[in-house]
């Protein structure tokens, strides 16, 4: 199938990416080649086949409901690129 630059713009927006024009042109051509190759799957008849997401049939895996320590607040915040008053700092999100 044909991959257009508009489609690349749309999936870039969904992915929170913004490719410079030169990279976008190259990426569009590469994605088209890769997607065309993936169409090989159309040769395989999968009618009536249930999709498998996990290979082993694990269901309803639970653990006992016990309180255990999780990460230390200060240690976790130490990895943040911008931190203030015990919270991660981001630009204002609500006008």
């Amino acid at each position: 199938m044909k991959i257009t630059e508009e489609m690349v713009d749309y999936i870039s927006q969904l992915s929170r990416l913004q490719l410079p024009q030169e990279e976008k042109t190259a990426m569009t051509a590469q994605l088209e080649g890769i997607v065309a190759y993936m169409d090989v799957l159309n040769r395989l008849d999968t009618s009536g086949v249930e999709p498998v997401s996990h290979i082993f049939p694990l269901k309803n895996v639970t653990r006992s409901d016990e309180v255990v320590p999780s990460g230390d607040r200060e240690e976790l915040l130490a990895n943040g690129p911008a931190v203030k008053d015990g919270a991660f700092l981001v630009p204002k999100t609500v006008e």
Binding site: L14, L17, Q30, M38, N42, T46, V49, E50, P81, P91
Partner: protein, 480 residues
């Protein structure tokens, strides 16, 4: 024989007998790292003062120096995934495998280079520069666990822990003439492994021998409440189970793995490996596995789909690197991700977003999950007839550096023999089985049925009793 040429178990034995002290082992490894790192770039971070081995550990590997691929979280040691976007991220917890290995006396010398977020087949997409193959520094070490394979091959550590989503342990092991094992999905906890494609990712050892891999897996394996996909099955006892006896074992060679696209010298070496297994009592026969045609597209659709979701957590807010020059939150995300991810990672995020997007989901993602069911059923049928399968690891020996970066589709196609194993959740091992006319290593892959890890290791152990490919070290891999 130099200390660094020993297997991990041989060194462990010398440490127990007192012939070598733990300090001497660490110093020998550090000397090798100083000599080889400038040439092969296997490490991202070398630990300046490695924590001493836990006292009283019963593991036969207690005190043996090792290292982790840099997508495995290590408390207090920078963990980068070889990506700019993780910056100086320093985990405040250890992965479960790190906890278990440390308790068993492992001494970590640092973190190993890799393809960015484990996305690549040559370890060239690292933001710290490419890993170079110790057998030929103009060639790739393979990927994505290229640093792990190169470090073991160059004698910088006696074993390393890698991760394998589509061949990332086995293929670099083959390119560097070391032994690497991807265990059955769910037998090793993924807690603390930075996710690429969660339904396919699994950690495992890279070492000189199958026996070393068994000893490492005896420590790594086992149920972990922190990974709900980890299986509640008995763990341990792999090393003790090795006999090398293959009498009565049936080994299948999938004809579809020996056809077009396979280098002639690789084919000959793998078929010669089949003869060695036959001489140990196995019967070997060809059979048809036509689903091989569909494994690469199914793999890349599923892996990229999961990656596009997993990598959404890297947004410049909670950890890692943040871009500058943003006006609002959306721009903060977009600038950070656009500048923080490399080209191959962006390609896979976009591909994954595409196959999951409205209008294309059924045609690509759902189709790939159905194909996965067909692939699994084909392997199930194969294992009704055979105890093990034998295939090449990769179609060729190690490519020249730079060759794979220009044509992503060509690089994806080179994963054909390894990705099916991840889709079906199976155990598989890559073992050295020869060299081509350029002197480059060739690997053979043994695949077992789900939870047949012991049988895979035993066949490789038998092969290594009769061959010495795994005991050969690269010559002159230290020159820059």
């Amino acid at each position: 024989m130099e200390l660094f040429e020993l297997t991990a178990l041989e060194l462990g034995e010398k440490l127990r007998s007192g012939e070598v002290t733990r300090e001497e082992a660490v110093e020998a490894a550090r000397a090798r790292i100083r000599a080889a790192q400038p040439a092969n770039n296997a490490f991202v971070t070398v630990t300046e003062a490695p924590a001493p081995a836990a006292e009283g550990a019963a593991s036969p590997l207690a005190g043996v120096p090792m290292a982790y691929k840099d997508n495995i979280c290590t408390r207090g040691v920078r963990t980068t995934c070889a990506s700019k976007i993780l910056g100086d991220f320093t985990p405040c917890y250890d992965a479960t495998v790190v906890e278990r290995l440390a308790a068993a006396g492992a001494v970590s010398l640092g973190k190993l280079n890799m393809d960015e977020f484990a996305m690549g087949s040559t370890s060239e997409t690292s933001c710290f520069g490419a890993v170079k193959n110790p057998w030929d520094l103009t060639r790739a070490a393979g990927g994505s666990s290229g640093g792990a394979a190169a470090a073991v091959a160059a004698g910088e550590v006696w074993y390393a822990i890698g991760s394998d989503t589509g061949g990332s342990i086995r293929q670099p092991a083959a390119y560097c003439s070391v032994t690497g094992m991807k265990p059955t999905y769910g037998t090793v906890s993924r807690y603390g492994l930075i996710a690429y494609a969660s339904s396919l990712d699994q950690m495992g050892p890279i070492a000189r021998s199958a026996a070393d891999c068994a000893a490492v897996l005896d420590v790594m394996m086992g149920k972990d409440a922190r990974d709900s996909t980890s299986l509640d099955v008995p763990a341990g006892g792999l090393l003790a189970s090795l006999t090398g006896d293959l009498r009565g074992k049936k080994i299948g060679l999938p004809a579809d793995c020996f056809g077009d696209g396979l280098d002639g010298e690789v084919r000959s070496a793998v078929l010669a490996a089949a003869e060695v297994l036959k001489a140990r009592g196995a019967t070997v026969e060809e059979f048809a596995l036509p689903v091989m045609e569909y494994v690469v597209p199914a793999y890349y659709i599923i892996a990229c789909a999961e990656a596009s979701s997993n990598l959404s957590r890297f947004d410049g807010v909670k950890y890692g690197w943040r871009a500058e020059g943003y006006e609002d939150l959306g721009e903060l995300y977009t600038r950070t991700r656009t500048q923080g991810f490399g080209t191959e990672v962006k390609r896979r995020i976009l591909l994954g977003t595409f196959v999951l997007s409205s209008g294309y989901y059924d045609a690509y993602y759902k189709k790939a999950l159905q194909t996965k069911a067909v692939i699994k059923a084909a392997f199930d049928r194969a294992f009704e007839q055979y105890d093990l399968l034998l295939t090449p690891v990769a179609p060729t020996t190690a490519p020249k550096l730079g060759e794979s970066l220009t044509d992503p589709l060509k690089m994806y196609l080179s994963d054909i023999y390894t990705v099916s194993v991840n889709l079906a959740g199976l155990p598989a091992l890559s073992m050295p089985c020869g060299f081509d006319s350029k002197g480059l290593p060739i690997g053979a892959q043994l695949i077992g049925p789900a939870l047949g890890d012991a049988a895979v290791l035993n066949a490789a152990y038998g092969f290594q009793l009769d061959t010495d490919y795994h005991r050969q070290s690269p010559k002159g891999g230290d020159e820059v």
